[in-house]
């Protein structure tokens, strides 16, 4: 009851452009059956926070479709719950977290909420953070703004008093400050700053390379077990896909596979989303294949990120590298001729 949360889904990551042409960073698919925002929202509800404002800019249709009224996170409540707060284009497209110009457009969210503390967070950090623990540390330390860090790395998660946040929003123009992240980076006087040390697994997703690396991390048991905890589950929008079907001739190792897929070919070291087809004699190695993508026969893919609804025709060979994976945009159709 003490905390409300702000998810800043207005932040644009230039390096993720291939995946964010049609969606916000928050709704980028990750880990087979999730969107990035699922990790953020789950951390919030697992920390017993029941009031969440999701600030979003265009194109937010996929985000809205995904979170809806917040039912899958038990946030469809009479009191508090999930508030979807779209902001004007003018204030959108920030590159730092907790932009005051964006928050200012929905002062009602802060005015009406009964909580004293605000968590300001983003969707581009994937982690298992406990905000209740962080709040305790914040209160004990007596600082104005607490930032979650892992060693030297800032995780773009902040806790501050609501009264302070409102003051910052009100005075940001005269103080020449842009966002919560900006204030923390500048160590703006007269405020005091503290660090909350987070020790679990985290990934900061701000480029195709980091997206690919974070995906591959999930294939390592230890990292996976730090992210998927049975007492702090990651919730997502449920789909009614049947279990995944492995056909005669399939060969699968070291992979994470979501429901509704049909695997006839070979899959190694890959993340396969819901309702993907990998047909006969095709090989998928070190790839991230998103929802409903269709890989015809005799294809050979390695180090490829295929967005949703990609169709790869028979016999296509695509090879990327860990540093520069081949990225196929949503709905792309790849023919053999094109690759040559």
């Amino acid at each position: 009851m003490r905390m409300a949360a702000v998810i800043d889904a207005t932040v644009k990551k230039p390096g993720l452009e291939d995946l964010t042409i049609y969606r916000t960073t928050a709704s980028v698919p990750f880990a087979g059956r999730y969107r990035l925002i699922d990790f953020t929202l789950s951390n919030i509800v697992n920390s017993n926070i029941n009031s969440v404002g999701v600030f979003a800019t265009y194109p937010f249709v996929s985000l809205l479709d995904h979170i809806g009224m917040g039912k899958n996170w038990d946030l469809d409540r009479r009191k508090d719950g999930l508030y979807f707060l779209p902001i004007s284009q003018k204030a959108g497209g920030q590159i730092t977290v907790g932009s005051f110009a964006a928050l200012e457009e929905h002062m009602d969210f802060f005015n009406k909420s009964r909580q004293d503390y605000i968590v300001v967070t983003t969707c581009s950090t994937v982690c298992q953070i406990d905000y209740e623990d962080m709040l305790d540390a914040h209160i004990t330390s007596g600082v104005d703004i607490m930032e979650a860090v892992s060693g030297e790395t800032g995780l773009s998660n902040y806790i501050l008093k609501k009264s302070l946040l409102k003051e910052l929003i009100r005075t940001h123009r005269e103080k020449r400050i842009i966002s919560v992240e900006d204030v923390v980076k500048l160590k703006k006087a007269p405020y005091t700053f503290g660090k909350y040390e987070y020790t679990g697994y985290y990934a900061i997703i701000d480029s195709m390379e980091s997206y690919f690396q974070a995906s591959m991390d999930l294939l390592e048991k230890d990292k996976r077990n730090e992210l998927f905890l049975s007492n702090r589950p990651i919730y997502t929008k449920v789909k009614d896909e049947p279990p995944t079907r492995y056909m005669p001739g399939s060969h699968v190792t070291q992979s994470l596979i979501a429901n509704g897929s049909t695997i006839e070919g070979t899959v190694d070291n890959s993340i396969i989303s819901r309702a993907v087809s990998v047909n006969q004699s095709s090989r998928v190695d070190h790839c991230v294949i998103m929802q409903k993508s269709f890989i015809e026969k005799n294809c050979e893919l390695s180090y490829v990120i295929a967005d949703k609804d990609v169709h790869i025709e028979e016999g296509v060979v695509l090879k990327g590298t860990p540093e520069k994976p081949v990225v196929l945009r949503k709905g792309e159709r790849v023919t053999k001729e094109e690759v040559r």
């Binding site: 880990a31 087979g32 059956r33 899958n72 996976r224 998927f228 589950p233 990651i234 919730y235 997502t236 449920v238 789909k239 009614d240 049947p242 279990p243 995944t244 079907r245 492995y246 056909m247 005669p248 399939s250 699968v252 190792t253 070291q254 992979s255 994470l256 596979i257 979501a258 429901n259 509704g260 049909t262 695997i263 899959v267 993340i271 396969i272």
Partner: protein, 382 residues
């Protein structure tokens, strides 16, 4: 409010031939197909057929079923008007009356049906795996101007004596209903799916209730009574996959049918989804030593062993060196390394010890129990 059609789903049966699987849960709650329960099929058929008012009649071990169905959210049956209603036996001025026969169960809920005020009632059972459009059957019922329509399926002649058989004329009009005939005249078996005009059904339920010699069963009493009274009864020929999963053997077979592309049972049809409660679990993990061949695997599983021709429910772990062949592994089972199982149904939550071995007994599929595991432990001196 007047409704066109209300479904009454009979889910009170024990299914004693399923042995230990139904000690604690009613048959319609039995897990099926890697993520579903049997009752998901008739419930999904209802919503896919645009029937949004469903009464679920429970009696035997109803708790799991009630908890599972809840407000009906997974089937979009959490509605202000209509939706799903759980109908259990209740106490009234005349004392507590258990449901005594399928027709009696409906009779005792005449009040519910009167409140819903439907024109037609469809009676369903929670024991069968099939995908059927009830709306098409209703169209047939209306077109035939029948008092009752009974859905039938052609079964192999050699099996006909195991079913309730409809003897019909060339216009599919029912002449006679025979329960498990020794010498069947027809191979059209009743699927336990009936559509009635509600006014007519109510009339015959009241007559039947006054008959002390009646067993208050649809097949045995109501249908013969209506035939005798000269009502027009038609058989609706259903074509497609349908299976009564009343035995360990048939439950296993129906699961195996999911691995056979020619069986006619397809769960992957986006236009006819089978809805189910979806637990929030991570994607399945296939490890370095995982080997999967013809398998259906659900979310939350961690597969490091060998899985062949098997159905694996959510949250199952198969450790290294373990192997499964033609098994049905229900949710949250842990299979120890080196264990070998063939043609076994493993009920939920069992922990299979390392190097455990069990296979089919002759042709008989084995239903694993904790007792069998203890027995094995004793025999190997562990």
């Amino acid at each position: 409010m007047k409704r066109k059609i209300v479904a009454m789903l009979l889910a009170g049966g024990q299914g004693s031939r399923l042995k230990s699987l139904t000690y604690d849960i009613a048959k319609p709650a039995i897990p099926f197909g890697g993520k579903y329960r049997i009752i998901d099929f008739p419930l999904s058929n209802c919503v896919n057929s645009e029937i949004h008012t469903v009464g679920v009649l429970t009696q035997y071990q109803p708790h799991v079923l009630h908890n599972y169905i809840g407000l009906g959210t997974p089937w979009d049956l959490d509605r202000r008007a209509g939706g799903v209603t759980m109908l259990t036996p209740y106490a009234g001025m005349e004392g507590i009356k258990w449901y005594d026969g399928t027709a009696n169960a409906i009779y005792q809920n005449i009040k519910y049906l009167t409140e819903q005020d439907p024109q037609y009632v469809i009676i369903l059972s929670g024991d069968h795996i099939y995908k059927m459009n009830y709306q098409t059957m209703l169209d047939f019922h209306i077109e035939q101007n029948a008092g009752a329509t009974i859905s039938v399926i052609e079964v192999p002649w050699k099996d006909a004596s195991r079913f309730g058989i409809m003897n019909t004329d060339e216009n599919m009009q029912v002449k006679e209903f025979v329960e498990k005939p020794a010498e069947p005249e027809s191979n059209l078996a009743s699927m336990g799916v009936y559509i009635f005009d509600w006014a007519k059904l109510k009339k015959y339920l009241l007559i039947d209730n006054d008959n002390e010699n009646s067993s208050h069963d649809f097949g045995k009493d109501i249908i013969p009574l209506m035939l005798e009274q000269g009502e027009k009864m038609v058989a609706y020929p259903y074509k497609g996959y349908w299976k009564d999963v009343g035995t360990v053997e048939s439950l296993w077979e129906a699961n195996m049918d999911l691995l056979n592309s020619n069986s006619g049972l397809n769960l992957n049809d986006p236009d006819w989804r089978i809805f189910s409660s979806n637990p929030q679990l991570p994607p399945q993990v296939v490890g370095e030593n995982g080997y999967l061949q013809e398998a259906l695997i659900n979310e939350g599983c961690v597969i490091n062993g060998k899985v062949e021709k098997s159905i694996v429910f959510q949250d199952v772990e198969v450790k290294e060196g373990a192997s499964l062949y033609e098994c049905v592994v229900m949710n949250c089972v842990k299979i120890g390394s080196g264990a070998k199982l063939s043609r076994v149904i493993i009920p939920p939550d069992l922990i299979i010890p390392e190097n455990f071995e069990l296979k089919e007994q002759g042709d008989e599929i084995v239903l694993l129990t904790q007792d069998l595991i203890e027995e094995w432990k004793g025999s190997v001196g562990k």
